[in-house]
Amino acid sequence: MILESLLPSASTYAGDIDRLFDVITLLVGIPFLVASYLFFAFIFRFKAKDGKKSMYITGTEHQYMKWIHRAHVPILVFDVIIVVMAVRVWYDVKQNLPEANSTVRVIAQQWAWTFVHPGPDNVLDTADDITTINELHVAKDTLYHYKLEAKDVLHNFSVPAFRLKQDAIPGRIITGWFEPTMAGTFDIQCAEICGIGHGLMPAKIIIEGAEQHAAWVEANSPLALTVAANQ
């Protein structure tokens, strides 16, 4: 609700994260409003007046302490709800790796992104792979695995419209997944400071319908380009 009103929601799990955000807002908002109300009410109600002495309360009396104890019950219940929901979303996005329809390689370096798409054979690391700079092309409603690498320093593969972030670490290949649900062009941003060009490292993710995407793959595979060059 809240996040969707601020930016597009373009992956299968974006809605789950948006809902988690809404629930947390509600569950921390209620205690916050109650605490703020009491805080301001006490300040105004107990302003110093001539001849009026303060109450002497040590904070060990049951009649007062019970309110502190009672207040903990909702806090604990809310904590449990938030933990359960957060872990479920986390498991779905980061721990679980559903079967993929296709795989792309994402390589971050100072200060550009290289994307390797499988060619018409839909298999990565073959002769017909399509390599692009700062433009990732994917098909809507297709489940992708990404293989994330960094060449030099830490980077972060962040697609806000997907609600996805993952650090890229030199020396490691990190695998994750996403499934776009909306056609369009969205930002890819580096979200881990990576040197002086960090703020100048934008890329795009271009999501198209399956047919248009297939046409793009056909037109851009090295084979097609060679044929075109020969003609």
């Binding site: 988690l20 703020s36 303060s54 309360i57 872990v87 030099d152 030199p170 040197g195």
Partner: protein
Amino acid sequence: MAESIRVDHAAHHDDHHGAHHGGHEMSFTEKYVFPLDHKMIAMQYMFTGMFMALIGGFFAYAFRWQIAFPGTEAPLWGQVSPAEYNSLVTNHGSIMIFWVAMPVLIAAFGNYLIPLMIGADDMVFPKINRLSYQIFLISAIVILSSFFVEGGAFGGAWTAYPPLSTKAEYSLTPLGSTLWITAVALEFVAFLLGGINFITTAMNSRAPGMKMWDIPMVVWMIVIASILFMLSVGPLLAGGIMMIFDQNLGTAFFNPDKGGDPILWQHLFWFFGHPEVYVVLLPAVGIVAEIITVFGRKKLFGYKTVLYTAIGTGVLSFTVWAHHQFIAGIDPRMANVFTVTTLLISVPIAEMMFVYIATLYGGSITLSTPMLWALSFIFEFLIGGITGIFLGASGNDIFMHDTYFVLAHFHYTFYPIAIIGTYAGFTYWFPKMFGRMMNEKLGKLHFWLTIIPFNTIFLPLFVLGAAGHHRRIFDYRNFPELSHPWMWDLQALATYSLIVMLLAQIIFFYNVITSWISGPKAPKNPWNANTFEWTATSPPPHGNWPEGLPTCYRGPYEYSHPDRKGSDFWPQNEPG
């Protein structure tokens, strides 16, 4: 028992006592440059910290200008280049935490208050104390000098993640990176020395009759904070030395090309970095406890409860560090564990907040300047606390990590701690420190012109963060999704608010200087407070109580006690 220890400790620093009691006039250098008196060392820390805060604040202005108005020249700075931008954000963070929050809250208030509040004539180790400040001063000079070396100051964020921080060809600041980590390591040494002093003094030099539960809360808090610091800083100090080796000697602790692991640094950094939040939080919480009891004329609600929540928070803070690394490439299963521990911290912290609010109940509240600061601490920190829940929830952090939401969240914790807490303590103890009363009108004007802009800086940043704005981006015009007109309006609002807030600090310094010179003379105990420092003259002389040290007869918060006739406070040193 207490008596014999005190005799002992007096004998240990005979030399400096002799200097005082012998009536020998100290030279200017002895008194102000190389002092042994805890109060003078506290002032050195206080004013060095405030000076560094001005620099850190000015840095914030320069890079906030670039964020809101990219491509235009920032008045008094000029065009901000990408390299400068990174150096500014990096050193703003480093300076505000290591050279402002730490020296002011721990070292300045710790040094000033511990001996005065426990009824001692000085710290147990005055020379270690002096050494601590001297090392701290060197570390401050080193961090500032990094702006003037070839390549400029380090720009890899205050977290200094390798390989960016270890390899000059990536950071392009070959000298700046090393000076940065050297300064941080030196600063840690300074605070380890100070911490030894605080813990030893509070445990051994208390006035006769001052039992554990009679120690004022702020002293407890500084002691607990010092213990947390000592327990957490070891790994990072080791990590800092590994980093210096990686940078200069070709080792590969953090270098994946040769089998090292860049993530190792993150663990070392955050194992310290998270407890560090509580290291600076606790002294501020203690300062607030002193102020709300005095200006509420109220006993602290649940003294032991506050203490236990502080200890509980401190212990838990060692188990949450990896919530900074959810998406850093750690084993994703670990995120579940750290989500649970992180949310558990909400229990003691909520308890602490409740207890503070409960302390206001039934009080007789005067909204003086220190009280306004103390109350605003509670409210603003509450916002900082609840927004932490969003980020501790792993599933949500996948999106929120490193956005302005994070930035706004921790500014809502650190700002109340380092700035509001400091102003609360400074305005409260100013009469004791300088023997003059501050101007209340100017004090309140300064309060409102600081607190309102503070909120209008950071509330918009929550919204921008929720909309996906990342931190540490030089120019948002490169990202269409971050360049909607309403976003630029919020960025401009934040920047203008910052300028107003910075200008408002002129009122504070004007108030300090004029009050110091010509404010009304402060009596010994202007606030009718109970704790020992208010029984010494304002300001207290070297040795604090030349007429003899006080004895403790009761706890620090006996305000409006039913057995006490004729006044609503009951000083700790009054027999009966």
